[in-house]
Amino acid sequence: MSKEAYAPLTEAVYYILLALEQPRHGYAIMQYITEISHERINMGPGTLYGALKNLLEKEWIALIDGEVGSRKKEYILTDIGKEVVVTEMIRLEELLTNGKKIMKR
């Protein structure tokens, strides 16, 4: 897959990937996204579930083998996932730099 094929990510996917820089379960992902977006994004559980399933299929994230006793599923960013985020950050940076340069703000 070429790097261009990753981007652009939807806001939801971008933030889910960021949230999974460390292991988190579903509810923690939602809370974290609400927090870092200063409550601008309140992701619904159905939306998150569909996105996680999709990201697992693409292998951008992976399930962590839970310890016995903790049944909550935790997810984590894979190496491909990390590359996707970084690629997207470079793209976003370009957008922002050009915007600032041209609009002089």
Binding site: Y27, M43, G44, P45, G46, T47, L48, Y49, G50, K73
Partner: protein, 172 residues
């Protein structure tokens, strides 16, 4: 405990009614065909959401989703076939299951395909019964019933298609 008989065709209206009941302190705990069972509680304690599930609650995939919801602090209350009734303790934030364009669209598409299948079946029966109805009055009356379902479902599908179009406009 209170039982109420009511029949809804539009799940959005049904959801609104259940939420109105919850605001007045009656919380849905059970649904069987056209019969709702409510339990007395604190007014506005819960927010309710209805969803047409992708997988039946009895399947493994379906159960996996319900577990996920549970872990997110959402209670699975009851179901009617693939329609699931969820509730969440009110936090002041609105309780919405699908929050972005793609997932909302997929949910509406699921509902539209379900109703389209029922509509197609009724249309086939309507035509069949009307033909046989030339000879038997029983089939003739039955075909009227089939036609009514066809008309009802068509208008409902139209409503959801319109919803889907409005979704597009929102995200444009």
């Amino acid at each position: 405990m209170m039982k109420k008989r009511k029949l809804f065709f539009n799940y959005q209206k049904e959801e609104k009614w259940i939420n109105d009941m919850a605001k007045s302190g009656w919380h849905l705990i059970k649904y069987t065909f056209a019969c709702y069972t409510f339990e007395k509680g604190l007014p506005g304690e819960y927010d309710y959401c209805i969803e047409l599930l992708e997988d039946a609650p009895t399947t493994e995939k379906g159960r996996e989703y319900l577990t996920f919801m549970e872990e997110a602090g959402i209670e699975y209350v009851t179901n009617s076939a693939n329609w699931a009734y969820f509730r969440k303790k009110s936090t002041g934030e609105p309780f919405v299951i699908y929050t972005d364009y793609m997932s909302r669209k997929k949910h509406l598409q699921r509902i539209i395909s379900l109703f389209s299948i029922i509509l197609a079946m009724n249309l086939a029966f309507a035509l069949y019964n009307m033909t046989i109805g030339l000879f038997s009055s029983f089939n003739f009356y039955f075909s009227i019933l089939n036609w009514l379902v066809v008309i009802g479902l068509s208008s409902l599908i139209f409503v959801y298609l319109k919803n889907m179009q409005e979704l597009k406009q929102d995200d444009a």
